[in-house]
Each structure stands twice: as structure tokens, then as C-alpha cells.
Point group: C2
Chain length 106, copies 2
Amino acid sequence: MRRDIFQAIADPTRRGIITLIALQAMTPNAIAAHFDTTRQAVSKHLRILTECELVIQKQQGREIYYQLRLNKMKEIDKWLQQFRDMWEDRFNQLDDVLSTLKNKKK
Amino acid sequence: MRRDIFQAIADPTRRGIITLIALQAMTPNAIAAHFDTTRQAVSKHLRILTECELVIQKQQGREIYYQLRLNKMKEIDKWLQQFRDMWEDRFNQLDDVLSTLKNKKK
DNA sequence: TATATGTGCAACTTTTTGGTTTCGCAAATT
DNA sequence: AATTTGCGAAACCAAAAAGTTGCACATATA
């Protein structure tokens, strides 16, 4: 089973979960209430997110709070860095302008 | 068919292609030479990348050069922005330190 | 003109993924 | 003690994705 952050954030529901629990830890039931799926489906997403260490669990009685590991999110940022360097120079900005003009012609 | 950047970068080969053509446009054959797959498989990846506008084609005789659209890459950066704001404050950095200590105990 | 090369595309197969259902377990509540 | 609640996990299913093979169609080259 392939388990990396990029595969994890490919699913829109998982991105939703990530955004949701970024602010505060939540239980599976509470998370499921925000989406149009069952608790079990959310549970499966949380498992995937846990396996690639994007999320940590905090047991509290019979409830389990899931919290985002921001540190892991940085890895996406890290990968993006190589491109961020590029899109900041003038040459590529000019290229974008040309593409836009081309599209408008159609 | 779901076609968004997040699904596009989920595949490791596609991430490889993106990095490869970021510096200079390349033909499918040239790209395929860098990976352990067939030209057709690469062609399929390029189609997906084109469909979600991460890549543009430039025909030159019978060869087709594929080039990265850096502008589209910014969308990932844009999504990441909401988290970047968070991981820069002290509270979360403290949280990371605590997690690290916890892991070392095991 | 005949042949080689670079390519996209469609059909097919295999693998992966996301969801549902059902179950068991432990913690709360009655 | 009996019941409810919150949860993970396994088994199963449908849909999607990734790869393979074979083809057609241009553009080069002989």
C-alpha cells in the first residue's frame, strides 16, 4: 500500500478533513457530521491520514480526538519550493501573459 | 473523471515528470527515457497533466514538446497558504517538540 | 514512393481506491 | 448488570486509475 502525503491529499474529503481539524482536534463522529458520508468512511480516511503521519490521535475516555500534524504538512511545502523559486522570475511571468492572450483568441 | 491538480500530483511518476520538465520542455520519448515505463504510459500521464492544465504542448514538426505551467502550480501553494500561517506560530512548534519527546520514550 | 520515426488514442487487464455493512470491544450511562 | 455510545477493523463491492498492446496518422528520411 502506497502511503505518502501526496496520495493522502489527493482525495477531496481528506483535504476537507485536514482543513477542518487544522484549527482544533475533533472526533470521527464530529468530523463525519461535516461531510456527506458515514462515520466509517471518515474513519478510513483518518486511518490513511494517520498512516502517513499527517494526523495524530489523542484518546480521551472512549473518544478519540484527531489532530493535524502541521509539521508533516511542511513536506508538501518543501516539494513546492523548487517551483516557487521559478515562478518568481520575470521570464515565466511573460510566458503566462502570452498563454492568456492565446486563450482569449479562441 | 476527476481531474484536479491534487489528483495529478498524487502519482509519483507524474511528480517526476513535473520536476523534469520544469526546467525545460521535453518530448514524450525523452521523458520516458528517464523513467522505468513505456512511452505510452508517459503519454497517458501527460494527457492527465494537460487536462488539468499543469502542462502545455508545443508542436514542433512531428515532435511535441511538453512544458510545465508554473502558474497552475501556484494553486497548490494557494491551498497550502492556510496552513503556512499556522505552522509559523510558537504554539504549534511547542506541540511538535512534545510529540518528538513522546516518540523517543518508546 | 517506400520506410522509419514520433506521436495520440482506444480497447483491454490488473490494481487501487472509496464506500458500505457488519462485527466486536471498551467506555459511559441507565 | 444491562444498555447505549464511540470507535476500529475486516469483508465485500463498485468505480476509478494505471499500465499494456495494438493501431492509425502524421512528419521526416531514404
